[in-house]
């Protein structure tokens, strides 16, 4: 049985990109493979007003599967682990190049490469209890899917340094204050607020292609 890690569903003029490996919705190799296919081959061709991206269940995503990552890297010293990682990284960046608004709807935990996925979106809406962090330094790593660059642009260089070096968790209200998220809503309103934002942007941009994030 090989169910997808990501679902793409259409809801009228808005597509839903759903991370579908609850409860954690980890960004493991399956998810990255599917994300890469979707982001490079399917999503650019979609005729939609925009996309909302969220996790199935309580959480957006807990981030990478570290055990799996270690296994990949500690395998035979060939180029394949480098290629694997670069492939995953470019899947996230491909999300940032889509020609319509992409809004991340964040509930629960949104950590590490999960947060980097949300950062690649044009906007982020979070629930009141959402928790966000880039904790890669805890395992001697750094955000590699755009986290250092995109976080800096959103919250400023100093705040980005602090957040990434400490790996600390941010609650929704502080995330809003510093510009990491654009709106905080109740869990009930999360998806509808995200769709509303997509339509609003679409209305204002009147079909003009949005540039790369």
């Amino acid at each position: 049985m090989n169910t997808s890690s990501i679902l793409l569903e259409q809801n009228n003029d808005i597509a839903h990109l759903i991370l579908d490996r609850p409860p954690k919705n980890e960004t493991d190799s399956h998810l990255f493979e599917e994300l890469s296919r979707l982001a490079n081959q399917v999503l650019p061709k979609l005729r939609v007003s925009g996309i909302i991206c969220y996790g199935r269940g309580r959480h957006f995503s807990s981030g990478a599967n570290v055990a799996e990552l270690k296994k990949r890297v500690q395998g035979p010293p060939d180029k394949s682990s480098t290629e694997y990682l670069l492939h995953n990284i470019s899947a996230i960046h491909a999300l940032a190049d889509l020609p319509y608004p992409v809004v991340a709807a964040i509930g629960g935990c949104c950590l590490g490469s999960g947060l980097e996925l949300a950062l690649a979106c044009n906007y982020r809406i979070a629930t009141k209890n959402a928790v966000m962090a880039l904790p890669e330094t805890q395992i001697g790593l750094m955000p590699g899917c755009g986290g250092t660059v995109r976080m800096s642009k959103l919250v400023g260089y100093s705040k980005a340094i602090e957040l990434i070096l400490t790996g600390k968790s941010l609650l929704a209200d502080e995330a809003l204050k510093i510009g990491l998220v654009d709106m905080v809503v109740s869990r009930k309103e999360l998806l509808s607020a995200a769709e509303k934002l997509v339509r609003k942007i679409r209305l204002y941009t009147n079909g003009i292609e949005i540039g790369s994030n």
Binding site: L69, V73, L86, M142, G144, G146, Y157, I161, L165
Partner: protein
Amino acid sequence: MKLIYAKDKNIGWITLSNPPSNALVHPAFEDLRTLKLFCADPDLLGIIIKGDGRHFCSGADLESLEALKKDPEIFAQALAQGKKLLEAVTFSTIPVVAMIHGSCLGAGLEIALSCHFRIASENAILGFPESSLGLMPGFGGTVLIQEPSMRKTAIDLIVSGRMVTGPEAFLLGIVDRTAPTFDLQEIAQSFLNSMVAKHPPRVIRAIMESIHNARRLSQKEALKREASLFLDLVKQSLGENP
């Protein structure tokens, strides 16, 4: 004004020294290589900059300024050299914290703004008094101040020349933390350590470099380099022991 360097375990200390005000007598107040070498010291995880004595730095020494101004070309060159020093601080690949006490004015504030973080004591006084002398901040201050605070704050402070206390500077976003005067050093150290103490230098330096790239390279190039820095860390931190 000269720089005094010290190391306390993994934390580097740079003291701005021309007591009591630590005023700058010349914009190029240090040899660039010396400063860069200190920032690149492989033992260091972070740096704190402070003033010698009661004050952080009250800015340019006015008499010296008068003398320099007489030759605009030399003055321009001196400023350019000085700004390279501030740039070296900003692009240091370990975090630099300005520990601000007493006066932090004009070029002193510009030095503080070139740091990644600012911690100010309650008795700190910050501002850009240049306008009241018919001048403007010439050390990058007009640009630097817009990062942490809002543009209206920047315009207000620069045009009015008014001074703010440490706590007010915190409210305006110019400093990141305030501290009671007696606790300033402890708070600055623990703030810096909370960011760096647990990490090997290579992790800190990779992250800092990537964040710097976000401001000095194109988005595309910065992302490319981030991936490359990340791959290096993966090999070093997760790979088999070399």
